[in-house]
């Protein structure tokens, strides 16, 4: 009995490795224990110190602060960092490749980090990524548009989704649209 099951599981892992993508069960978990803690901000799980700053700047572009906090203060980067060792393990490589690519594109063209560029320049770079107009090998074959869409969707999830996943700090986006979350027992629904 056992043999049959072992075999099928091995097959399964083999196939997963071939490209299913969702099954990088080890990568995220392992990096927690490996020696790369030096560049890691205390408390982050997947991103390095540099990556978290970059991600915060991107999140701020996707959801900018106005009268209400933006993506940075709402903890969107924390949402991403949390998901990338959880439900979004399958996107780890995309993030590593994409964030490094973005740093390189900024260094090549502006000799600065993305987060140190002027607001309008940051916006223009992200618009270029969205429409596939960034220079550089990593952006070829549709990776540019693909990675932008990933960032966009994930940042919006971090800002507008439930705080239990690490973003939407203090229910800020619910407050912004006047939604009574969290719902309080005996209070919120008394009108019905």
């Amino acid at each position: 009995m056992n043999d049959g099951i072992k075999l099928s599981r091995k097959d399964f892992l083999k196939i997963a490795a071939l490209g299913a993508g969702a099954l990088s069960l080890t990568t995220g978990g392992l990096s927690l224990f490996e020696g790369c803690t030096a560049s890691r901000r205390p408390g982050t799980m997947f991103f390095s110190e540099d990556e978290i700053k970059l991600t915060e700047a991107i999140a701020e572009q996707i959801v900018p602060a106005d009268d209400w906090p933006g993506g940075r203060d709402a903890g969107v980067a924390n949402f991403l960092d949390t998901q990338l060792i959880g439900s979004y393990r399958r996107f780890q490589q995309d993030y590593q490749k994409g964030l490094a690519g973005l740093e390189k594109s900024c260094a090549d063209k502006y000799h600065r980090k993305f987060e140190d560029l002027a607001w309008e320049t940051q916006t223009a770079i992200l618009q270029d990524m969205e429409t596939g107009r960034l220079d550089g090998d990593v952006w070829k074959n549709g990776f540019s548009e693909y990675f932008f869409e990933l960032l966009r969707a994930h940042c919006l999830q971090g800002y507008y989704g439930s705080p239990r996943h690490g973003g939407n700090k203090n229910y800020i986006s619910y407050k912004m649209i006047g939604l009574d979350e969290p719902q309080i027992v005996g209070e919120n629904r008394s009108g019905i």
Partner: protein, 551 residues
């Protein structure tokens, strides 16, 4: 240790299978109900939008999981990709006791008479396998009635002049309109349409020992914390278990039908919750694993007698996969409309279900379930920025001032939209997975354009300051409303099962789920699937009591 032989084994405890389990065990048959998922729990999933069954970006709240389940999707250019269970392309319903009926929106539609006679009504449609059902609305009517009374539907059929005739009213009064429905109601009436409250598998008053609905915003895609939403998990399945004749086995993954040396199907084999391979033998085998998993199971059951899989002599298993393109329009208003009275959808018109010039079939139009915050980030006028300052302002300004009117368009069955078995990719248990390919028929796009334009007219008349249409897609259809892959029919060469769901080439194997649908109506399908559960199992029980052992 081997399992005790039973009269019937049912694969899948969803809409069709849950009902079948109840009917057979109440008729005195010994039944084992196999379910790959577990009982769903409200405490685990509560009201988290990103991890629900409607928005599944962080996973399917009610299964299947991303770690063990995958499928292969064939792209337009013939290339393939492997997708995990929470991705849209996987075309999921759910995997838990009750399946989609735990977390559905609970619209409870009867199909119309025309929906069972599409070929007769509209003639041959080039490129489509459009056909009549082998049963009529009139034959199924008492089964709809049973579903409405036993599972529990709230509504008022008298207000819908297009509804097919019925013998009994709904057991519960309809739900009151929310604010957007009130605005739409007068607009629809001014346009000469016939609005009515959507029939719902939800308690408007306390019913069958369960409480009345408190109208939460998190309903469609979520489990009900007070059990006011009715599915097979809190009606038919508990009823089956209380007979003492039915055993429910959760976390059991059925991998194939077992065939003896004479070609008779003697049972099913499965991996139990401890991943041990087991066999359950039975006189009758009923497959209710959904319109994607039922054909997978039949196609994976190859043997000397069934070299192409069980029921597949004429290559019809897995064909004609259809769902519903959702199509409609959005409107922005100057005043607050959001009153937070869930689940949002309350009003519909059936004026466009049939007999529309130049259109085959049609669909209902209804106001949409509550657009929760992340869902709403995807709702912007065509060409509007998808991120940045104005995207955020829009969210703030219009979250409480938008209305969506949508409906499911009746799709033309298409032979090449299909479920196959992927030749190389396997799931966690080593079982070859579903491979999906195909696209919608061009007629469906026409139908979508038609219905969306009507939705926009309704919104304009309701006073929307800005409106835009969203037209259902052309790609492969399936998803939550998947159907049609083991269609019923009188001719074994153009169908998989007979009018009672019995697979033509095997006397004791039945299908009882959405796979049987010949066409999928312009309505959400769950009530019809439940009615088919009563129909198929009712037939089996009646025959059994006459001494027929389906040999």
């Amino acid at each position: 240790m081997s399992n005790r032989h039973v009269n019937a084994v049912i694969v899948g405890a969803g809409a069709g299978g849950g009902v079948a389990a109840k009917e057979l065990s109440e008729a005195g048959l010994s039944v084992v109900l196999m379910e790959r998922g577990d009982w769903a729990s409200y405490d685990v999933h509560n009201n988290d939008e990103l991890l629900s069954q409607r928005t599944t970006v962080l996973g399917n709240a009610f299964g299947p999981d991303d770690e063990r389940y995958r499928r292969v999707v064939v792209n337009d250019d013939g290339s393939t990709k492997v997708v995990v269970a929470s991705e849209n392309d996987y075309n999921n319903v759910a995997a838990c006791v009750g399946s989609g009926t735990v977390s559905y929106g609970a619209m409870a539609w009867r199909f119309m008479r025309e929906d069972f006679r599409m070929k007769t009504t509209y003639g041959h449609i080039e490129g489509s396998t459009l056909a009549d059902w082998p049963i009529s609305y009139e034959e199924l009517e008492h089964c709809y009635e049973k579903a409405e009374w036993e599972i529990g539907v709230a509504g008022d059929a008298a207000q819908n002049p297009f509804a097919a005739p019925r013998n009994k009213p709904y057991p519960m009064p309809p739900f009151a309109y929310n604010k957007e429905a009130k605005i739409l109601e007068s607009s629809m009436r001014r346009l000469g349409l016939h609005p009515f409250p959507i029939p719902m598998l939800r308690n408007s008053i306390s019913y069958n020992g369960r409480a009345a609905c408190v109208r939460r915003r998190s309903c469609c895609g979520f489990a009900c914390p007070i059990n006011a939403k009715s599915g097979t998990h809190n009606t038919a399945i508990p009823a089956a278990l209380s007979t003492g004749n039915c055993e429910l086995r959760t976390n059991c993954i059925v991998n194939e039908l077992v065939t003896d040396g004479n070609g008779r199907i003697t049972g099913i084999s499965y991996f139990d919750k401890d991943e041990r391979k087991q066999v359950q033998s039975a006189d009758i085998i009923i497959i209710s694993a959904s319109a994607t998993e039922t054909p997978r199971l039949l196609l994976n059951s190859k043997s000397k007698h069934y070299p192409n899989g069980v029921g597949n002599r004429y290559d019809w298993v897995g064909r004609n996969l259809q769902g519903h393109a959702y199509t409609g329009a959005f409107g922005l208003f100057e005043d607050d409309i959001f009153d937070d009275v869930g689940p949002g959808a309350t009003i519909a018109v059936s004026d466009f279900s049939h007999h529309n010039p130049g259109i085959v079939g049609g669909g209902i139009l209804a106001n949409e379930f509550t657009r929760l915050p992340y869902f709403f980030t995807g709702i912007r006028p065509t060409g509007f920025p998808k991120w940045g300052k104005s995207h955020k302002e829009f969210q703030r300004k219009y979250f409480r001032k938008n209305v969506q009117v949508v409906g499911p368009i009746q799709e033309m069955p298409f032979f090449d939209s299909r479920v196959q078995i992927d030749p190389s990719v396997k799931d966690y248990w080593g079982i070859p997975v579903v491979r999906l390919s195909g696209h919608r028929h061009p007629k469906d796009v026409k139908g979508c354009e038609f219905l969306s334009s009507k939705a926009e007219i309704i919104l304009k008349e309701a006073g929307a300051s800005y409106t835009w249409q969203s037209i259902g897609g052309k790609g492969l259809s399936g998803g939550q409303h998947q159907a049609g892959t083991c269609r019923m029919g009188d001719d074994p060469r153009t169908s998989v099962a007979d009018k009672y769901g019995r697979v033509h080439e095997t006397p004791n194997v039945f299908v009882a789920d959405a796979s049987l649908h010949v066409t999928n109506g312009g309505f959400n399908p769950a009530l019809t699937i439940m009615a088919l559960g009563y129909w198929v199992a009712g037939h089996i029980a009646a025959e059994w009591q006459k001494g027929n052992r389906f040999t």
